[in-house]
Amino acid sequence: MKLELIDISFRYEENEILKNINLEASEGKLVSILGPSGAGKTTLLKIIAGLLQPTSGDILMDGRSILNKRAGDRNMAYIFQAPTLFPHLTVRENISFGPRIKKWDGKAIDKKTNFLAERFRIENLMERLPRELSGGQQQRAAIARGLAIEPALLLMDEPFSNLDPNLRADMGMLIAEIQKDLNQTILFVTHDRDESLSLSDDLVILLEGEVKQSDSPDTIYYKPANEVVAGFLGEYNIIEGRAKENVFYSFLGNYPSSGIREGRAELFLRPHEISILESGNDYCITEIKKAGRTNHYKLSDGEHEVLAEAFAQFEYRIGQRVGAKVNREKDFHYINGKK
């Protein structure tokens, strides 16, 4: 199965929600669409599912347009942000809803339902009504219900956003496991960058209705197409310098720069790629920002500023003089100056 979106645009009244979206999802891949609220992620997913019609563009599945097919005939399942289990049906009836609608054989329905119940660890909840389940159990049942119809594509619209952090991590692992085991193609919409970076095979950055970059998570994180994408995935450094004879010269040191134009260039580094050296005294710590188990330290040599990362336990202080070192040894990314 291969999904292709070709120049998909969507306009609602006077607002252009999506602008010429091009995107691909290959079989067995988990493709995340990452963007802030209002970027058009849900609209895009609903267009793919057939719940909304695009203003222009086409959607191909294995090379054939599915634009005129109704939602139920697209062989896709949609998992919503809130679990949308049917409240008057038991978990078993919910999971078997799709196969029953599609008139599967009774034995095949039972087999599929039991298999999914086991995979999602909800075997003992099958005769309960949705209101008797916790939020996490409800969402597991909703995903099982979606997978019961053996969809070519599973569309997940921020499915873990209502869950607590521990449960989110568990669900993320469960989805990754299911994806690999069933070779399930998944299109996963999220605004959580950590979730998207850890789960995805491919990542699409959607900002203001436009795809800003589409690549592997590592590539987008370490080699963003521009500063907008870079900033969306977290803090970063732009180290100004000059490239000459395949070497980049900067205040932070000299690094290989093959493949970029000679002259002014900007080296892109994430804070964790710069370590603090207690032994040095070139920089002064001017600001400390908490970032979970680590801290981000703003270092200044009076002329330049750089953001470094270190574990919070080191307890560096503002005003302390330290040194700085770039951890990366190869494959440097330069934002400007490409040939």
Binding site: G72, A82, I101, A142
Partner: protein, 262 residues
């Protein structure tokens, strides 16, 4: 103090009903007698066995009430779904004005219906009467169904569509079971309002349709209090039965839909 208000409120509501009951079972109960004395069921026997117009009126009213309950509930469900699921200029106008039949004087409203049915060749018929009654009850049924539809997320409907469900399957397997309490309540409201209608039935039926309230009115008008009261008691019994049944059934179904209002 609150209890006193409650007692006064209940007495004021029940007062007239108690008088109807007394008049239905006691002969010549008139002022200044404090207590009724001449108990009788003879009038009841005559009314129920020898008065054909009683049964004709009852049959007509039940038939019109059931038809109106079904029609106004059907239209109420569809209108409520459109009001909660769509948003455009037309829908916004309907949202503002769908209760307007309740504020237009009955005379104006029903004369309008009569003129329309006359043009369609349906004047003085059952159809005209049911149409008139539906005009009054649809705002109520729409309001009842609207509140239930607001509790059913649109995502749930869309989930059913992506799983392969058609619109008909969505209604049959998902929406109707969840809307059961609303359907029962709006059906009961549709029936009760229709059952109590006198003027619209008289006007739109053109005398061809004899409803229960039309049977009752001449007795009261001619001072035949005992027969008028007998019909009044039957009227109250039927209304209370419908109300209690709908209430009990909708409560049993409400368990399923309880999540809607959590």
């Amino acid at each position: 103090m609150r209890k006193l208000y409650l007692i006064l409120f209940s007495v004021s509501i029940l007062f007239s009903t108690v008088f109807i009951l007394l008049h239905a079972f006691f002969l010549n109960y008139r002022y200044p007698e404090l207590w009724p004395t001449h108990f009788t069921v003879t009038y009841w026997t005559t009314m129920l066995t020898a008065t054909s117009i009683f049964w004709e009126g009852l049959r007509s009213s039940i038939a019109i009430g059931v038809l109106n309950a079904m029609l106004s509930t059907l239209i109420g469900v569809m209108t409520a779904r459109a009001l909660t699921r769509h948003d455009n200029t037309g829908i916004r106008w309907i949202r503002k004005f769908y209760t307007i039949p309740l504020f237009i004087p009955a005379m104006t409203l029903f004369i309008g219906v009569q003129l329309m049915t006359a043009k369609l060749g349906l004047a003085n018929s059952w159809v005209a009467v049911v149409m008139g009654h539906a005009l009054v009850t649809i705002p109520y049924t729409t309001t009842i169904c609207h509140s239930f539809f607001e509790g059913i997320s649109r995502d749930m409907e869309q989930a059913a569509f992506t799983l392969g469900s058609t619109s008909l399957q969505l209604y049959r397997q998902i929406l109707l079971p969840l809307l059961a309490p609303a359907l029962l309540l709006s059906g009961a409201v549709g029936f009760l309002i229709s059952f109590s209608e006198y003027f619209s039935t008289f006007l739109l039926g053109g005398g061809n349709i004899i409803s229960f309230s039309m049977v009752m009115y001449p007795y009261m008008n001619n001072g035949d209090h005992i027969n008028g009261a007998i019909l009044g008691v039957v009227f109250v019994i039927i209304n209370l039965c419908i109300f209690w049944c709908a209430d009990a059934l909708s409560k049993s179904k409400a368990k399923v839909a309880s999540y809607l209002f959590e």
